[in-house]
Symmetry: C2
């Protein structure tokens, strides 16, 4: 099954202790769709400015990503500038220029409306609702959000969540959305808001997945070289939803495996700036790292 | 195999958002030996003051812990007072009264000197060396330490580490000891200092175990009620070394299972103040939670 993703396509300027890059390809929809494209087809809906060059479009197309929903508008492409310190866990935003994104309204090409798998990247929940109004009857809606919307657009977000199957947010957002410090209780509160599955992203500490079936914990891959965490969350989501869509299996066991595939994809992304590591990534490498996650977590049961 | 543990026996006064307790039984050797006692015999070496009552001694004895090495000295027992905020990850020490612990020198009863399993709890590395000078030829030496000693008694600590097989410290201590921000690189540096296994404790994020055999990641159990994290690290160590000593098997597979048993024991301890949860804990409960760790971490391999 193909996945419809709606989110941002951007240029990032990033400083980490290991170097810096200027105006490199970024954005939630870009990271998500590149990651998911290793497993299934992707239909991308986003907006770029007239300054957006052909090369990245060519790259995305070469990954089998359908750009029929990529609008080009007068003005400049969304730009983000951020810095990471040595802990690499928290991005410090230095500049955000929404540019053409400011007046963005997602418009789905006719053929995208029958999408069975939908990922609503971290955008204004009102825009997420606009997307949901255009899709017919998706089998799975997954969604990301952030502190800015939890705080500033809570009502719209609550409306969105009623129609979301899987919510993927970080630990602080989980506590903020539920207004509860204990993560297990917070998760239960959020599962009452609509989603049947909550994926709590904890950066270098991995992921916790909550559902009626129980809890699943996956570690992050312990890496010696973390160059740039930008896009790790969206790349995780791409591997996660990508696996589910490719198998069209939403069982607990499939969701666990999807979580590990998401973690695998995120572990590659952070090894280099922008999408660079994904550009020459092979399926053999993905499978090899999946096996490393098995080796990382396996232990014998009680005899 | 029995385990020799040298550390503190103390009275703790603890405030958490969920309540407070005054002068309750605590101390690294107390938590460690109570936890380990579910798996094997324990020989305890520590010091208490003349104010130390009979009840806790009776409790420890009822757990099969040999108190022949528990000295009683004129003066008061070690007292610690601390507070935890809502995140429960970091203890804020309000008061430390070493009292009789200030002039403590571990003196092993003759019969303890042939111990095959030794746990050096978090005490002055010079005292840890005094212990090692008294034991004949242990099969395994495990050791804890803290920022205070890494900073203030580095030379003695380095000497101790040359004779340690398994070092158990937290994440910040790992980075501090190796003087390296990246955990994987820091672990490699520490494995070059002597220990063949490094256990990095990450509180609610679980544990990473590094050795020449690779890396093993175990989550912490996601709990709805965390009352008091005091003693979690020592209880982990008790379950961990306890399992190894009880099986007398130091293979990678055994160390992984020991890590899960340690995590199980720690998950119980934090459910109540002091050692309270361990007082009525049963082996059936321990096995049931071990199985919950399996359910928490299992995923299917590639087909």
């Amino acid at each position: 099954m193909d996945i419809l993703v709606v989110g941002s396509v951007a240029f990032d300027t990033v400083e980490t202790p290991f170097g810096q890059v200027e105006d490199v390809l970024g954005g939630s929809a870009t990271f998500f769709s590149t990651s998911a494209s290793f497993m299934t087809g992707v239909q991308l809906v986003a907006v770029v400015g007239e300054d957006f060059p052909e090369e990245p479009k060519g790259f995305l197309k070469s990954r089998g990503i359908d750009l029929a929903g990529l609008q080009t508008r007068p003005g400049e492409t969304f730009r983000w500038k951020g810095r990471y310190g040595y802990d690499l866990n928290e991005a410090h935003t230095l500049e955000t220029h929404l540019n053409v994104f400011e007046s963005f309204h997602p418009k789905l090409p006719e053929v995208f409306c029958s999408a069975q798998y939908v990922f609503l990247a971290n955008i204004d929940p009102e825009l997420q609702l606009e997307v949901l109004a255009q899709v017919d009857k998706p089998r799975l809606v997954a969604c990301d959000t952030m502190n800015f919307w939890i705080d500033g657009k809570r009502d719209a977000l609550i409306k969105t969540l009623k129609r979301v199957d899987i919510l993927l947010i970080n630990e602080a957002e989980t506590r903020q959305l539920a207004n509860e410090a204990n993560l297990v209780k917070a998760a239960r509160t959020i599962l009452d808001m609509g989603p049947s599955t909550l994926v709590v992203k904890r950066g270098e500490y991995g992921v916790l997945v909550f559902s009626a079936q129980g809890v699943f914990s996956a570690p992050a891959y312990p890496l010696e070289e973390v160059f740039d965490p930008t896009g790790a969350g969206d790349t995780f989501a791409g591997g996660f939803v990508g696996y589910l869509a490719s198998t069209d299996n939403l069982s607990d066991s499939s969701i666990r495996k999807a979580t590990v595939f998401g973690s695998v994809m995120a572990s590659f992304t952070v090894e280099d700036f922008s999408l660079n590591r994904l550009r020459d990534l092979t399926w053999t490498e993905i499978e090899a790292r999946f096996r490393k996650f098995q080796a990382l977590t396996q232990f014998e049961g009680l005899s």
